[in-house]
C-alpha cells in the first residue's frame, strides 16, 4: 500500500471512502446515530423542558407556557436527574469504558516491561483500542455534564476534588498514550530500547494515579457508605478493570488477529486466557472478603435485598462461568470467546451494581425513624432502584460507536493492528 510519511509516521494513502465508509465505520455510524438521538433527547429534556418559578407565575399570569410549565411541575416526570439518584448509567458506562480501556493500556505496559513477546507484537492495536475506549467513556460523561459551564473547571478549579483531578489527568494521560502509540507505529527500536522503559513505567504510574483518583472520587461521597466502606477501592478498580480488559483483549484478538497472526494467535489466546484466570481468581477473592467490611445497610440491600439477583448474576457471569469455561484449554476457541463475553456482561453488571448500589439506601432517613417521601405524590422508599432511561441507554450505545470509529480511523490510517515489530 502506498504510504505518506509525516514526522516519521507512515500514513496509509487511503481514499475517503476507504477511510470513512468501510463496514466497521458503517456499523459505528449506526451506533453513533442511535447515540446522537439519545443526546438529542437528553438535551431536549435538559435545555428545552418547560419550567417555571414563582416569579414567572407572578410576572406572566396569562402565559400558556407558564401554565404548561406548572402543569409539568405537578404532573410531569420531566427533568432527567432525580434527587434520589444523581449518578446513573452515564457513570456506569464512563467507569466501565475508562477503567477497562486504561486497564488494557496498563496490561500492555506491564507486558512490555516483563518482555511478553506476544503482547509486544500486538501492543499498538491493543493500546489504540484501549484509548478508543477512553474516548467512548469521555463521550458518555460529556453528555452527562453541563458542557456549557465546563470553562469553570479552568477558571475556578477546586484542585482537591476528585472530579477536577480528572481534567489534568486526562490532559496528560491521553497525549502520553498517543506518544506510546507513536513510538510503536514508528518502530523506533532505539528509542523504544532507551526510553520505552521510562515511558512504560511512567505509563503505569499515570494509570495507578488514574485509579487512585477514581477511587477518591467515590470515596469523597461520605454519605454513600457502599463506596466509602469498600476496602481498598483503588485495588478493586484495578482488579475488576483487568478482568474486563483481558476479556475485551481476547475478543479483540479474535476479530483482529484470528487470521493474520498465524500460529501465534493460539499462543496469544492461551496467554490471555491464563491471565484472565488469575485476575478472575483475584476478583473472586476480593468479592468474597469485601462485603465483610461494607456498611450493613448497604450490604443487606446488595447481598440479600433487592439487588441480590443482580449481584449474584454479576458473580456468576464475571467470575463463576468464565472460570469454568476458560479453566481448561480447548482446541475450539468458542468456549474462551463465550467466557470473555460472559466476563464483559458480568463486569458491566458489576459496575452497574456499584453505582446504583451506592444510591440504593435512601438519604431520606434523616431522623433515624424511617424514610421520608421524595415527592409529595410518591410513596416513601426503603430502597432506591431505577431502570435507566431510554436516552441513557442510547448514549451508551453511541459510546460503542465512538470506540469503533476512533479505533477504525486510527487503524485504517496507521495499520495499528498489523504492526508486528517491536
Amino acid at each position: 500500500m502506498k504510504k505518506y510519511e509525516i514526522a516519521g509516521i507512515e500514513i496509509n494513502a487511503v481514499s475517503i471512502s476507504e477511510l470513512l465508509f468501510n463496514k466497521t465505520m458503517l456499523l459505528a455510524y449506526f451506533l453513533l446515530a442511535l447515540g446522537f438521538y439519545g443526546v438529542w433527547e437528553v438535551f431536549a429534556e435538559r435545555y428545552f423542558l418547560l419550567t417555571a418559578n414563582a416569579f414567572d407565575a407572578g410576572l406572566n399570569p396569562g402565559s400558556t407556557e407558564v401554565a404548561e410549565a406548572m402543569k409539568e411541575a405537578v404532573f410531569g416526570a420531566g427533568g432527567e436527574v432525580k434527587r434520589e439518584q444523581p449518578w446513573t448509567l452515564y457513570i456506569v458506562n464512563y467507569m466501565y469504558m475508562i477503567y477497562s480501556g486504561s486497564a488494557i493500556i496498563f496490561f500492555v505496559a506491564l507486558s512490555e516491561i516483563f518482555n511478553v513477546k506476544l503482547i509486544q507484537k500486538t501492543a499498538a492495536g491493543f493500546i489504540t483500542f484501549g484509548l478508543a475506549m477512553v474516548f467512548g467513556g469521555l463521550f458518555t460523561i460529556a453528555v452527562d455534564l453541563n458542557i456549557l459551564h465546563m470553562h469553570w473547571m479552568f477558571l475556578t478549579p477546586n484542585i482537591r476534588a476528585g472530579m477536577w483531578l480528572m481534567l489534568p489527568l486526562y490532559t496528560v494521560y491521553i497525549p502520553f498514550v498517543l506518544f506510546e502509540i507513536y513510538l510503536l507505529i514508528t518502530n523506533r527500536h532505539d528509542w523504544a530500547k532507551k526510553v520505552a522503559y521510562g515511558i512504560l513505567l511512567l505509563s503505569i504510574v499515570i494509570d495507578l494515579i488514574e485509579y487512585y483518583i477514581q477511587a477518591k472520587l467515590f470515596n469523597m461521597n461520605t454519605a454513600r457508605h457502599l463506596w466509602t466502606t469498600y476496602p481498598m477501592l483503588t485495588l478493586y478498580f484495578i482488579v475488576s478493570a483487568f478482568v474486563a480488559a483481558i476479556a475485551i483483549m481476547i475478543l479483540y484478538s479474535y476479530f483482529t488477529h484470528r487470521r493474520s497472526l498465524g500460529d501465534d494467535f493460539h499462543a496469544l489466546i492461551t496467554f490471555l486466557r491464563k491471565s484472565s484466570l488469575y485476575v478472575i481468581a483475584l476478583l473472586a477473592m476480593y468479592e468474597a472478603s469485601a462485603y465483610l467490611f461494607i456498611d450493613k445497610e448497604w450490604g443487606a440491600i446488595i447481598l440479600f435485598g433487592e439487588y441480590k439477583i443482580y449481584f449474584y448474576a454479576y458473580l456468576f457471569l464475571a467470575v463463576g462461568l468464565p472460570f469454568i469455561l476458560e479453566f481448561k484449554e480447548h482446541s475450539n476457541n468458542l468456549w474462551i470467546i463465550l467466557g470473555s463475553l460472559s466476563v464483559i456482561v458480568g463486569t458491566y453488571l458489576g459496575r452497574y451494581i456499584f453505582v446504583y448500589g451506592g444510591n440504593a439506601y435512601p438519604m431520606s432517613n434523616r431522623f433515624g425513624m424511617g424514610f421520608e417521601k421524595y415527592g409529595e405524590y410518591e410513596q416513601a422508599k426503603e430502597f432506591i432502584f431505577f431502570s435507566p432511561h431510554s436516552s441513557e441507554i442510547l448514549v451508551v450505545v453511541g459510546s460503542l460507536g465512538v470506540v469503533l470509529a476512533v479505533y477504525k480511523i486510527l487503524d485504517t490510517l496507521f495499520s495499528v493492528s498489523k504492526i508486528r515489530e517491536h
Binding site: 417555571a52 469553570w152 475556578t156 469523597m220 425513624m369
Partner: protein
C-alpha cells in the same frame, strides 16, 4: 459570623407555609420535589397509640460540608457566615454534591440546569437587612429561629444554652448547623419519635464540636 438555625420541630403543624414562602422569596423552581426546604411526615405507633411527627428540614449548612469538598469548580462554596452556597453559573452538573450530601438537601433546578439548595435567604433577605429567613418569617407556630452562633448574647445562642437539642446524622461527621430542639415536656414520647442513636446535646457539649470543625476548616 456563623449562621445557623434552631428548629422547635414539635411546633410544626405541616401547613407548608414555609415551603411556599421559600419558593416565592427565592424563585425556586415549581414542582413538588423541587424544594429547598420541606416538611416530612412520619407516622407510627407506640404501644398502640398512633402518632404523627412532622420533620421540617433543609440544608444543614454543615461546617465540614462534603458537598463543598467534592465540587470541582467551586460552585459549592462557603460564603460569609459559613453558609454553604451553590453558584448556578459555575455548576457543571456533575452531581457530586448531591451524592455527597447525607441530607438529600440538593436538587437540580431544571430552569438553570444547575444544582440548587437552601441559602438561608442570604442573597434575598439577609444581605438586604432582614434578620430572618422567609421560612422563619412566615411560620405561624414559630418553628424556626435563624441567628449567629458567634453572637453569645444573640437570641439563637441564648436559646441553645437554655434548651437541649440534637442534630441530624451526627455520625456522618459533617457538623450540621440545624439544631432540633428537644421538647421540654413529654420527653419520653419525644425520645421515641427520634432515632435511638440520636445524641441529645447541650450547648456545652456541642460548642467544642463546632469549634473543632471551624479550626479544621481554617487549617485546610
Amino acid at each position: 459570623m456563623n449562621y445557623a438555625m434552631a428548629l422547635d420541630y414539635q411546633n410544626c403543624i405541616n401547613c407548608k407555609a414555609c415551603e411556599v414562602a421559600c419558593k416565592e422569596q427565592n424563585g425556586v423552581q415549581l414542582g413538588a420535589d423541587k424544594q429547598r426546604i420541606w416538611v416530612s411526615t412520619y407516622e407510627n405507633s407506640i404501644f398502640g397509640n398512633p402518632f404523627v411527627a412532622f420533620h421540617p428540614s433543609q440544608c444543614n449548612h454543615c461546617i465540614d460540608a462534603p458537598c463543598v469538598s467534592v465540587c470541582p469548580t467551586g460552585a459549592s462554596y462557603f460564603a460569609e457566615g459559613g453558609l454553604v452556597m451553590a453558584d448556578k453559573d459555575k455548576c457543571i452538573l456533575c452531581k457530586g454534591c448531591m451524592e455527597a450530601c447525607p441530607y438529600d438537601a440538593r436538587f437540580v433546578d431544571d430552569k438553570y440546569v444547575a444544582v440548587d439548595k437552601c441559602t438561608f435567604c442570604y442573597d434575598t433577605r439577609i444581605t438586604k437587612g432582614e434578620t430572618t429567613t422567609a421560612c422563619q418569617a412566615t411560620c405561624p407556630t414559630k418553628v424556626r429561629l435563624f441567628g449567629d452562633l458567634d453572637d453569645e448574647k444573640g437570641e439563637l445562642v441564648q436559646l441553645l444554652k437554655k434548651r437541649k437539642f440534637f442534630v441530624l446524622k451526627e455520625n456522618e461527621g459533617t457538623v450540621p448547623k440545624l439544631f432540633y430542639l428537644f421538647p421540654e415536656r413529654d420527653t419520653g414520647f419525644a425520645e421515641n419519635s427520634i432515632g435511638k442513636e440520636t445524641t441529645i446535646h447541650t450547648w456545652e457539649s456541642y460548642k467544642p464540636v463546632i469549634d473543632r470543625a471551624i479550626a479544621k476548616r481554617r487549617k485546610s
